[in-house]
């Protein structure tokens, strides 16, 4: 934060480059990759993991400072503090999801990421999407995840609550995976910052300012049901199929172990109707539930 604020206070008139240098992106990604390798859960001692965390945090700060400089260099200029706060929280939560050895904590850090992303959505004037994100992700999906995690943890580790499963503490191929991930990150960031001019619409006339006025939830609904009606129907179908599939996959065959001979259930005494209503005539016997105790004679 100190770095960010110091970069802010300095008037950066000299720096008018439109993008971050590709070499810089490459170097930062390589350094962050090394830090992430240290940070991933493994057999290393805790101090090394702390060093890895420090490296990643430092890279993040440097990158943020570069972005601040970039923001100051663009024509719009200015600064939005909330963006930096939310982005930092979201990325911190994301890193912790990946590096925390305990699944429950990983899920809770993911909730943090979801909330921060909702904040970013609000900054982008997508308040309906922010609400939907919190409701669906933090409310529904994450509860299901935590539920399954606890279901699994309860049946495996009955011994001590402090034991982390062995497969959670050792990551698989940390070097190769981090190399692949940060190579992809470097390429993406390079494209984002080097081809920046191609990202924007060619004419500013299609940029509609009606988005920024009174809450675009209504507009979004109108757009969805006027232009995307078939897709809405398809997503409803998809949800139904998902529900059916989940039930079909996860159901369990119930095996009943019964000891002794199977005795059919017999009603000894005629059941008495509780009241005089003709609809409340009780049934008796098990073979034919429609057989009435008091047939209308």
């Amino acid at each position: 934060m100190v770095l960010v604020s110091s970069a802010l206070s300095i008037p950066l008139a000299a720096n008018t480059t439109a993008a971050i240098q590709p070499v810089m992106i490459l170097l930062l990604c390589a350094a962050a990759g090394i830090g992430t390798v240290f940070l991933l859960p493994g057999k290393r001692e805790a101090s090394l993991r702390n060093i890895g965390g420090l490296i990643v945090a430092a890279i993040g700060l440097i990158f943020a400072a570069l972005l601040v400089k970039f923001a100051a260099g663009t024509a719009a200029g200015g600064m939005n503090v909330y963006f930096w706060v939310f982005a930092a929280i979201a990325l911190f939560g994301a890193v912790r999801v990946v590096t925390h050895p305990r699944p429950v904590y990983a899920a809770l850090y993911f909730v943090l990421t979801v909330f921060a992303s909702a904040g970013l959505f609000i900054l982008l004037w997508a308040e309906f999407m922010a609400a939907a994100l919190v409701l669906i992700y933090a409310g529904a999906i994450l509860v299901t995840y935590v539920f399954v995690i606890m279901l699994a943890a309860q049946s495996t580790s009955t011994r001590a609550a402090d034991v982390v499963a062995e497969y959670d503490t050792i990551s698989r191929e940390p070097l190769a995976a981090t190399a692949v991930g940060f190579a992809l990150m470097g390429v993406l960031l390079f494209v984002i910052f080097d081809k920046a001019a191609d990202l924007y619409p060619t004419t500013t006339s299609i940029a509609d300012t009606s988005l920024q006025v009174d809450g675009n939830t209504q507009e979004l609904g109108r757009y969805l049901f006027q232009h995307q009606l078939i897709n809405v129907q398809l997503s409803g179908l998809m949800l139904t199929l998902g529900m059916v599939g989940a039930i079909l996959i996860a159901r369990r065959k119930v095996v009943v172990h019964q000891s002794g001979p199977i005795v059919p259930e017999v009603l000894n005494t005629p059941a008495t109707p509780t009241d005089d209503s003709p609809y409340s005539i009780p049934v008796s016997g098990t073979d034919n539930p429609r057989a009435k105790a008091f047939p209308e004679t």
Binding site: F110, A126, T144, T156, L241, G242
Partner: protein, 102 residues
């Protein structure tokens, strides 16, 4: 009215996607692997919303709704599968199913 450039949001989305990718490849717990998939969805959603905002139309938000729907379906199916797999081997370790590699 935000004064940030589109690139800032795209960078956040891209970084989040890559973190999720790394997590998916390195973690060995089935549930955490699917959690990392959700992280990747999250990064894509930020990208879509940012593009929608800076292009001034609603396609980005509409697309994000469908991404959310797919994420919900994916979570339900994946957790059903995880429960199924967990019942067979009594562990969440993805390496328990190594023989699927052939």
């Amino acid at each position: 009215m935000t004064q940030l450039a589109l690139q800032h949001y795209l960078a956040v989305g891209a970084i989040m996607f890559c973190i999720g990718l790394i997590g998916f490849m390195t973690r060995r717990n089935l549930i955490v692997m699917f959690l990392c998939t959700e992280l990747m969805f999250q990064g894509v959603a930020i990208n879509l919303i940012a593009f929608g905002k800076f292009h001034g139309n609603l396609s980005g938000q509409a697309f994000t709704i469908f991404v959310l729907v797919i994420a919900a379906v994916e979570a339900s199916m994946a957790l059903g599968l995880v429960v199924l797999l967990f019942r067979q081997k009594n562990t969440l370790n993805a390496d328990a199913w190594k023989e699927l590699k052939g």
